[in-house]
């Protein structure tokens, strides 16, 4: 039964991928470029949903894991000259390893202590790069995945190439996360999140499960980091600011932290906000300081509004609403 379900998921994802492919050939380059960012956010947010929404471990510092992924990919490419497709695999593996180590520490912490620790990491890890010449300091390292293959034609743009790579990664990773959340592990994590004492009494190894969640979540975040690095062709400390961690968290809340269904909604909103802010700022003709800070303000406002109005995210809210209605009819 379980097998049938995951293979049908696979068909849905393949179909969805085909639609993305069709879209990428029709929209203009700006939208394609934004598509790359959306795919990065989809992966980052789903990683956070797995960790926070399912296993109940709060992370305010997911940007740090993205940084590890981005730097791993860049170092693998620049210093060890690993073929480009494999650099993404390296990013996943190394970040997962880092996640496992962090997970050991995280399993001993909970609530505000864990939040504080991850927050510190988000500030500390990107700036480590400044201490080592090999990581390129503030200027960072180049991460160039190269031009699209010539066989795709001369008019095939760089951003479309990035989008194809990004969309493929996002589809694979979402498929993977969806399946793991539906598996025994997913159920275990939910049991721990709901009531860890009860979970332990029913024979679940809490520490082990938490570490596993951290490891997998980190691996997925590493992939997002590599994609982020690809989309801007560089890794540098400034590419992974604290604001990135907060954006991911906001995206996860907007998506509905305990369900994967809305992940695309959260990602699209995150990418749309700077453009909206620009439009608003242009309309009211405001100063530079306002234009620079408006996106951050809008993200924060959205976060607060979501928590107030739809604490489980719009998708969950809709589902609950529908269930409520169905119930009434019966």
């Amino acid at each position: 039964m379980h097998k049938v379900k995951s293979s049908s998921h696979l068909l849905t994802f393949i179909f969805f991928g085909f639609i993305l492919f069709l879209i990428s050939n029709r929209v203009d380059e700006l939208r394609v470029y934004q598509g790359v960012q959306i795919s990065m956010y989809v992966i980052g947010i789903s990683s956070l949903i797995l960790l926070t929404g399912y296993s109940g471990q709060v992370s305010l510092g997911h940007g740090a894991l993205l940084a590890i992924g981005g730097y791993s990919a860049a170092v693998a490419k620049n210093i060890y000259h690993i073929p480009t497709p494999l650099t993404f695999v390296v990013a996943v593996l190394i970040t997962a390893l880092a996640g496992a180590i962090l997970g050991v520490a995280a399993a001993r912490l909970s609530g505000p202590y864990l939040a504080g620790t991850t927050l510190t990491l988000a500030i500390a890890i990107p700036s480590i790069a400044n201490q080592f010449k090999v990581l390129g300091g503030e200027q960072g390292l180049l991460f160039d995945v190269g031009f699209p293959p010539l066989s795709l034609g001369e008019n095939f743009t760089q951003y479309k190439w990035y989008f194809w790579i990004g969309a493929l990664c996002a589809l694979i990773s979402t498929w993977f996360v969806k399946n793991i959340l539906g598996s025994r592990y997913g159920r275990t994590w939910r049991a721990i999140r709901s009531n860890d004492v009860a979970a332990e009494l029913s024979g679940i190894g809490i520490a082990r499960s938490k570490i596993l969640a951290f490891t997998i979540s980190a691996g997925v975040a590493g992939l997002a980091g590599a994609l982020l690095a690809m989309s801007i062709s560089t890794v540098s400390p400034s590419a992974f600011p604290l604001a990135l961690s907060f954006s991911l968290l906001t995206g996860a809340v907007l998506s509905g932290i305990s369900t994967l269904g809305g992940v695309i909604i959260g990602s699209v909103i995150l990418v749309a906000i700077p453009e909206l802010a620009d439009a608003v700022a242009n309309r009211i003709g405001s100063s530079e300081a306002v234009i620079t800070n408006l996106p951050g303000f809008m993200v924060s406002a959205l976060l607060i509004l979501t928590v107030l109005l739809a604490p489980n995210g719009p998708v969950e809210q809709m589902r609950a609403h529908k269930a409520h209605k169905n119930h009434k009819i019966e």
């Binding site: 379900k5 049908s8 849905t12 179909f15 969805f16 639609i19 069709l22 879209i23 029709r26 929209v27 203009d28 380059e29 700006l30 470029y33 400044n130 300091g137 503030e138 200027q139 960072g140 180049l142 160039d144 760089q158 989309s231 801007i232 062709s233 560089t234 540098s236 400034s238 590419a239 700077p274 453009e275 620009d278 530079e288 300081a289 234009i291 620079t292």
Partner: protein, 431 residues
């Protein structure tokens, strides 16, 4: 139930796909991107806010001031020049995102005066205007590497390179401060490595070298730099960083009663900005310090360009001081106008670059050194004069005479310049 959901998902996806296909008709391009019948759009990324913004955030206003003046006088071949500005906060990743917006959303004709070595580099790698054939005009950085036409096929430098500046400064130090213990503050990136290369060429050895990471300059870090320079016994200190680094360094030194002979690099030596940030004590701190520039002193109102530019600027942005940043901005706008004019009645990105390659060396400009553009060279200006900051804190040539030295970014010699700047075209408009 699961089956029903799946069917629904597929239906929804199909609707989305069809809708997006229908919405995405792309209009055909008749003219070059960014050029309409009445307007040509340029895009610029600069730090308007953030740690490095002070002073540099006046550049866009200066460009716009000149463009407005030009447009009021008929524009170029009937078209107005327009500048779209984006704030990158001096952060390379922001510069990449904002440049993408300029190119993909605002659809600018060319990039004009992007600021900061690391930023221009990141944009070149990621947005890759070179491969897309988008001109990057008169970058606001003196990194020598940007003149490499192979690597940056559409980029035009303007500033004399940091290597040239360090070479000429090195020669000046040798002549005037032989035997003194030297200290150097520099930015720990390509900006600084260019400077180190230039000083090395000039045979200058520093007793104390203090690097700082871009963006780390603050009232907390600066006393640490000064303590290091002080402990190393530096008698002559070169500040080769951005303006805010100079400001923090000079303030911290005043606080720690450290008063060596200061030499300020052109990037971080704008007197107006320093005075504005440090306050009334700045003039006393700056008095007697040595600085370098390739344009006339901002106080030199006998100069026809300084006179006209300061008049235009005062009208466009009342209440703001006329300083080196303004000169740099207005001059870049003036060069751009000439390039557009030379590119023909219907300029394209290609014809614009061809115009600079073939005629750029003869463009009129405020600088006291020549432009060096040719079909093989993307080098802009190539020399400096040295002066002293006056008791009012303004950089002025010693004895009121500009003595200019030119050189190259390689092993070339330092030559006393014989260049005579041609007269300004009528009303400061492109001929």
């Amino acid at each position: 139930m699961a089956r029903k959901n799946r069917v629904k998902l597929i239906t929804v996806s199909a609707v989305i796909a069809v809708a997006s296909l229908a919405l995405s008709a792309i209009p055909a391009q008749a003219r070059e991107i960014g050029v309409s019948a009445t307007e040509i759009k340029f895009g610029m990324t600069v730090p308007m806010t953030g740690a490095a913004s002070l002073g540099y955030n006046k550049i866009p206003g200066a460009v716009k001031a000149y463009f407005d003046y030009l447009n009021a006088n008929g524009g170029v071949n009937g078209r107005n020049l327009k500048l779209i500005v984006k704030d990158d906060r001096y952060v390379p990743t922001e510069a990449v995102a904002k440049t993408n917006e300029l190119i993909l959303k605002d659809k600018v004709f060319a990039l004009l005066g992007p600021l900061g070595t690391a930023n221009v580099k990141a944009v070149a790698a990621s947005v890759n205007p070179g491969r897309r054939g988008i001109p990057v005009l008169f970058v606001n950085t003196g990194f020598s590497g940007f003149a490499d036409k192979k690597k940056y096929p559409t980029t035009y430098t303007a500033f004399p390179s940091y290597i040239m500046e360090a070479k000429i400064m090195g020669a000046y130090i040798k002549e005037n401060f032989a035997g003194k213990k030297l200290g150097l503050l520099y930015q720990d990136d390509d900006f600084g490595s260019d400077a180190l290369a230039g000083f090395k060429q000039a045979g200058i050895e520093f007793a104390v070298k203090v690097p700082y990471a871009s963006g780390s300059q603050s009232s907390i870090t600066a006393p640490v730099w000064i303590t290091k320079l002080q402990a190393g016994g530096a008698e002559v200190v070169v500040l080769f960083g951005v303006t805010t680094a100079s400001i923090f360094a000079l303030s911290a030194a005043a606080g720690l009663k450290f008063a060596p002979q200061w030499i300020l690099g052109s990037v971080g030596g704008d007197a107006t900005t320093i005075k504005l940030a440090v306050g009334p004590s700045a003039a006393a701190i700056l008095n007697g310090a040595i600085g370098a520039s390739y344009v006339p002193a901002t106080t030199d109102t006998d100069d026809e360009y300084v006179k006209l530019f300061s008049e235009i600027y005062a009208k466009a942005v009342p209440g703001q001081a006329f300083d080196n940043n303004v000169i740099v901005g207005m001059n870049a706008a003036f060069l751009t106008a000439q390039a557009v004019k030379a590119a023909g009645a219907n300029p394209t990105r290609k014809s614009l670059m061809k115009a600079i390659d073939t005629q750029g060396a003869n463009f009129a400009s405020i600088a006291l050194v020549p432009l060096n553009y040719s079909s093989t060279s993307r080098v802009g200006y190539n020399g400096y004069w040295f002066g002293k900051y006056s008791p009012t804190g303004d950089l002025k040539p010693v004895d009121g005479k500009y003595v200019l030295y030119t050189t190259d970014s390689g092993a070339g010699a330092i030559v006393k310049s014989t260049y005579k700047r041609p007269a300004m075209p009528a009303k400061g408009l492109p001929k």
